[in-house]
Every structure is written in C-alpha cells, then in structure tokens.
C-alpha cells in the first residue's frame, strides 16, 4: 500500500493561517490502513488544528469528512459543490488524492496534510517498510521475490556493493543488505547459479523518467 505520514503541525498551521473555514477530508484507502489519513486521523488532526489555531490567537471553523477513496472521480467530484463554502480543503489522502482533487475540482483550494513516503508493507502495528519502488519494470522473478530497486540503497542490479558487511548495508547497520538476502534465498532454493546471469542496464523510462506514466486498458474504457 501507499505509506504516508502527517506533516508537522507547524507546517500545517502555517498552511491554514489565512483559512477561516476548513474542510478536513480523509481517505479510507491506503492512508487509512497505514493510520495516516483515515477517519481517526481526520478527527485527531482537526482537534489539533483547532487547538493550534486557538493558541496562536486565531479563529477557525473546521468540518471533517472521510471519503471512500480520493483517487476515484465518483467520490471527489461532489467536492466541487460541497467545498464552495470553505476557504480550503485539507486532504489527508496521499499525493494522488490531492492531485486528483486539484485536477477535477478547479475552484477548490486543496492543501496536502500528509507527506507521501513510499510503497510498503505493515511489519507490525505501527511499523512499515518500503518494499516496492513502482519502477514499472519488475525483476522479482530473478531475485527470489526481493526487490533490489526498492531495498538496495543503490538500487544495484547485479549483486551487492563493497558496503555489504555481515549481511547489513553500509548506510545503516539496522538495514539488511537485500543482495545478501537474495543470495541466501536463492541458495536455499538451489537457484544461486541463476545469479551468474548478468542483468542488463536498466531502462528507467518506465520509472517516471519518461514523464508522468499512464496506463490504458481498452477493454475497460467507457
């Protein structure tokens, strides 16, 4: 899922410093699952903003709502009418949601409440780890299911660098060297000979270096 985290309160308070009527809008998609922008977080942020604005001597009226998703038009288009009575909409969706509101709701002053961080998995309650970089050219079938693009600090394609020591990455002793893990995993599956095959230089155009990506499925188009 997409992992995100709330922006610092100081940044958010500055963002809404000229706002008198604010609608805080959460999303029940990924950001709800990673406890960054669901119903609960909308309530907490609204209360924190009320307190912060009051402490600064200001006044603000905050309403709150949470949409099923902010990345589908049927859920955000109603904001075009609804948001007219607010000075701003503070979106607690990931960057996709904020962009989509901005694209589809021309008169809505949409503001981001979150920093969108990575695609990750939930290791345990309150802990998430990056697992995918969304590079658009998956090589997981060659690496035992472990991603060298997202999980190697240098995104190396052909084995570890000299900074791999004792199975750990040189950037941080708490970070596993994913190439060590790939080697161990493929060895355990009696597939380590496959690692002798050199991966060609990656074509990064699928990773956004060729501009914003788009996917079309003709069979699903209206």
């Amino acid at each position: 899922m997409i992992i995100a985290e709330r922006k610092p309160m100081k940044e958010l308070l500055e963002m809404v410093s000229n706002v008198r009527r604010l609608l805080v809008v959460g999303c029940r998609g990924c950001v709800a699952v990673c406890s960054a922008g669901g119903d609960k977080e909308v309530s907490i942020l609204s209360a924190a903003l009320r307190l912060g604005v009051k402490k600064a001597g200001g006044e603000i009226e905050i309403d709150q709502d949470t949409l099923v998703r902010q990345c589908d038009p049927e859920y955000i288009d109603p904001l075009n009418d609804r948001a007219s009575k607010y000075d701003a909409v503070l979106s607690m969706a990931c960057g996709v949601g904020v962009n989509f509101v901005a694209d589809r709701c021309p008169d809505v002053n949409v503001l981001p409440a979150l920093n969108t961080t990575f695609y990750g998995a939930n290791l345990s309650s309150g802990e998430w780890k990056e697992m995918c970089a969304g590079c658009g050219a998956c090589v997981l079938h060659l690496t035992g299911g472990l991603c060298p693009v997202a999980r190697c600090a240098k995104s190396l394609s052909n084995g570890p660098c000299g900074g791999s020591q004792g199975g750990k990455c040189e950037i941080n002793p708490d970070v596993d060297c994913v190439w060590q893990k790939i080697y161990d995993r493929l060895s355990g599956m009696d597939r380590k000979e496959e690692l002798r095959q050199i991966m060609p230089i990656r074509d990064w155009t699928t990773s956004g270096h060729g501009g914003p990506r788009r996917r079309i499925r003709e069979d699903l188009l209206p």
Partner: protein, 130 residues
Amino acid sequence: MSKIKGFCCNYTLSVDDDALRQEGLVPRGLEIERLPCTGRLKVPEILDAFAEGADAVFVVGCQIDKCHNLSGSYRASKRVKYVKEILKELDINPACVEMFFAGRGETEPVVAAARVMASMAEEGRDTDKV
C-alpha cells in the same frame, strides 16, 4: 484559578467530584469526566479539553496489569503519550497531560493526580495557557 480536566475510569474514582471539591480535597477548578473505561478515551477528546480552556489534563485508569477491561488503561496511556507528542509540536508543555494509575475504588490517587496537575498548571500557566 487553573482549570484542570480529569478523565477517570468508572472503576477507579469511587467518590463524586463535587464531594471532593466540597471537602476541599481537590482544586476548585477541577472537572472530572467519568468514563466506562479510559480505553474509550480518544485523542481528540483530550485535545478538545485543552481547546476548551483546560490548563492541564489528566487521565486516571486502572493499574496497568489489573484493568477491568484488560487493556483499557494501557491503551489510554499510549494515547496520552501521543497527545504529548502533538502538544510538543504545538509548543505546549507536554507535561500538561499525564496518565495516572489507581487501584479499584481508590480515591486518593485521583486526588493526588489532581493536585500534581494543578500545581504544574499554576507554575506554567502564564507561559503555556491556550
């Protein structure tokens, strides 16, 4: 007079807070809200208490390993910790909110908590008042 808000679980405080005030046992500015369990207390409710003028807020739940609802007071303590983080971000003294634990039906720890928070609020009132 400092305004103190206390959230107490139904199993800790056995005496009505009006009675405590009349006896002069707790600060006059104390308001106590009883909850079925402190595990029901949400982060926004604590923040709202500050927004409504409280100088300090405290929560009293069951002893952490003897919660009537098993983990209610533990959950409350984690939420209080989170509120402290938010208060820090808002430049409000995080010591303005505290979690306390009391045995079943024990009023004394609640009275003590109220006094500690009142004293703390009086000290920091001028600088941290919302």
